[in-house]
């Protein structure tokens, strides 16, 4: 369980994290989603005791991170897969972890095995690893202490689609065993795949917080015709409940074939027909991203 309350971080005049509150519950994978520079990494660094908040609090398993005993045994942390000593082998790096956490020797091989790194890969220098392999080794660092909580900053970065599928399985298993996972990403489709609960941050503020099903219903069709009012009547007549969007289209709880039949029965030409965006999260996220992009251009 991770509880973040009114967390604020200021650097001089700029507010990087602005009164952020959210929870990550045991048994769930929580995705922390936001464009680059939104304050995700800063929040995770405060959560893990590396940065001090200006105000507010963050607790893991009921305590601030810095007050956890042997934290590697309780919270697995991966903040930056590239921040690993290039001159050490993956196995040596894990052995240092095991020594510090007081783990038995076989835990090193178990951890390598769990993240899909072979014995030969474990013996190679981290400097020769691909980004995907570094992510796997970073996950091995996080998992080796058999923690109850995982905090992962952009863990899917550098993984190929098969790697992301593998990561989804690993995190789902971890959560199914009662573990709490908090992972960050700047890619909506990545979080959609990995997380069951979403917390969206933009410019340091939480702008959406809910389950994937609430925020991304997935079902539903968006339909548009030149005469929106007539289209509404046609959908009603076909027994398809719909809601009008602000720009005159309709979002209908039915598949595209049903909707097309209803429109053509009323003699209406459909100008747009596609799966609906879940409660506008994709549109929201796109607008956040483009806001940030514009900000960078003007800066």
């Amino acid at each position: 369980m991770i509880v973040v309350e009114q967390l604020t971080k200021r650097y001089g005049a700029s507010v990087v994290v602005d009164a952020v509150s959210f929870r990550a519950e045991p048994g769930t994978v929580t995705g922390f989603l936001g464009p680059n520079g939104a304050g995700k990494s800063t929040t995770l660094r405060i959560l893990t005791g590396l940065n001090a908040p200006t105000s507010g609090s963050a607790t893991i398993l009921g305590r601030p991170y810095a007050r956890l005993d042997n934290p590697g045994r309780q919270v697995g942390v991966l903040l930056d897969a590239t921040a690993q000593h290039p001159g050490r082998s993956g196995r040596t790096a894990l052995r240092l972890d095991a020594l510090l956490m007081g783990l038995p020797r076989p835990s090193v091989d178990e951890a390598l095995d769990r993240v899909g790194l072979s014995a030969a890969e474990g013996d190679r220098r981290v400097g020769d690893y691909s980004l995907g392999m570094r992510q796997r080794l970073g996950l091995a660092h996080a998992l080796i202490g058999d923690p109850q909580v995982l905090i992962l900053d952009e863990p899917a970065n550098g993984l190929d689609p098969a790697g992301i599928r593998w990561l989804r399985g690993l995190l789902a298993d971890f959560a199914a065993g009662g573990g709490t996972v908090l992972l960050s990403s700047h890619l909506l489709h990545e979080v959609e795949l990995l997380a069951d609960h979403l917390v969206v941050i933009s410019r340091g503020r939480i702008v959406a917080d809910g389950s994937r099903n609430e925020l991304l219903p997935g079902a539903g069709t968006l339909v548009r015709a030149a005469d929106g009012t007539a289209l509404g009547r046609a959908l009603d007549a076909a027994g398809l409940a719909g809601t009008a969007t602000s720009d005159g289209a309709w979002v209908v709880a039915g598949d595209q074939a049903q909707v097309a039949r209803a429109a053509s029965a009323a003699g209406l030409a459909v100008t747009e027909l596609r799966p609906a965006d879940g409660s506008g999260l994709e549109a929201l996220f796109l607008s956040l991203t483009s806001d940030t992009a514009r900000g960078q251009v003007s800066a």
């Binding site: 660094r45 893990t48 005791g49 590396l50 940065n51 001090a52 991170y65 810095a66 956890l68 005993d69 042997n70 934290p71 590697g72 045994r73 309780q74 942390v77 903040l79 930056d80 590239t82 921040a83 690993q84 000593h85 290039p86 001159g87 050490r88 040596t92 052995r95 240092l96 972890d97 020594l99 510090l100 956490m101 007081g102 783990l103 038995p104 076989p106 835990s107 178990e110 769990r114 660092h141 202490g145 058999d146 109850q148």
Partner: protein, 256 residues
């Protein structure tokens, strides 16, 4: 997976942190190279002294002087790197998440470096013993063993001070190049400048660690020498160590 009962998790003992830091020193190429270089240097200085030294100078004290010289050169570098590589390789992220009590991490690192320094000094004295024996056998050297316990104590203190000073500079600057420049160029330059003028020389004895620790190397310490050493060490060792520690404890861990 190894099963771990959460309720049994206890604080990481300091001794284990020290062992981890010792392992890190060996498990890095710079550390391996430095320790190898140190071993080779010990062999080299003993060999050269055997070849070219005056037979009368081939004593245990003479050998101890030459074998401790490479230590003073290389150990501070090892101490600097033990701190600064955590930032240059950004492993500080892992180090401080696995042990959030940063003061304990610093203490463990410092203890590990002092331990390495003492082991290296033991190796240097062993090399001096071997050199002295060989000098007697091969060169008919004088081969005396006179080295008073206080002189050994001074040797230990000198090496430990050098290690802690290097460590302190590393902690103050958190940057390898800057710490090396400060330790190997700026500090000796200040020393030289202080010794240039007669007016400054009296003050220099109190402010310059090099001249303050000379009586140590010469084995002729008096009460005033100790007082001068204490003030100079405060300025050059304790002050940077304290400032570096305060910054680390108060600030955010920044690695980029």
């Amino acid at each position: 997976m190894t099963t771990v009962t959460a309720s049994r998790v206890t604080r990481v003992p300091l001794g284990r942190l020290v062992r981890v830091e010792l392992s890190k020193t060996v498990a890095s190429r710079s550390g391996e190279w430095l320790l190898t270089a140190l071993g080779l240097a010990l062999v080299a200085v003993v060999a050269v002294t055997l070849l070219v030294g005056d037979a009368a100078d081939l004593t245990f004290r003479g050998f101890a002087e030459v074998t401790s010289a490479p230590l003073s050169l290389l150990l501070p570098l090892l101490a600097i790197l033990s701190v600064t590589t955590e930032w240059s390789q950004r492993t500080a992220l892992t180090t401080f998440t696995l042990e959030p009590d940063r003061a304990r991490v610093v203490l463990a690192k410092l203890a590990a470096m002092v331990a390495v320094g003492l082991l290296a000094l033991a190796a240097a004295l062993t090399a001096a013993v071997i050199g002295n024996v060989l000098g007697t056998v091969l060169r008919d050297g004088s081969g005396t063993w006179g080295l008073r316990p206080s002189e050994v104590g001074d040797l230990v203190l000198t090496q430990v001070l050098a290690v802690v000073q290097g460590f302190a500079f590393g902690l103050l600057l958190l940057n390898t190049s800057a710490a090396i420049v400060l330790y190997y160029l700026v500090a000796p330059a200040v020393s030289t400048v202080l010794s240039l003028s007669d007016a400054l020389r009296g003050t220099a004895a109190w402010l310059d660690l090099g001249s303050a620790s000379t009586p140590l190397s010469a084995g002729s310490s008096t009460g005033q020498d100790w007082a001068q050493l204490a003030t100079a060490a405060t300025l050059w060792v304790l002050l940077p160590l304290g400032l570096g520690l305060i910054r680390l404890l108060r600030g955010d861990v920044k690695t980029d």
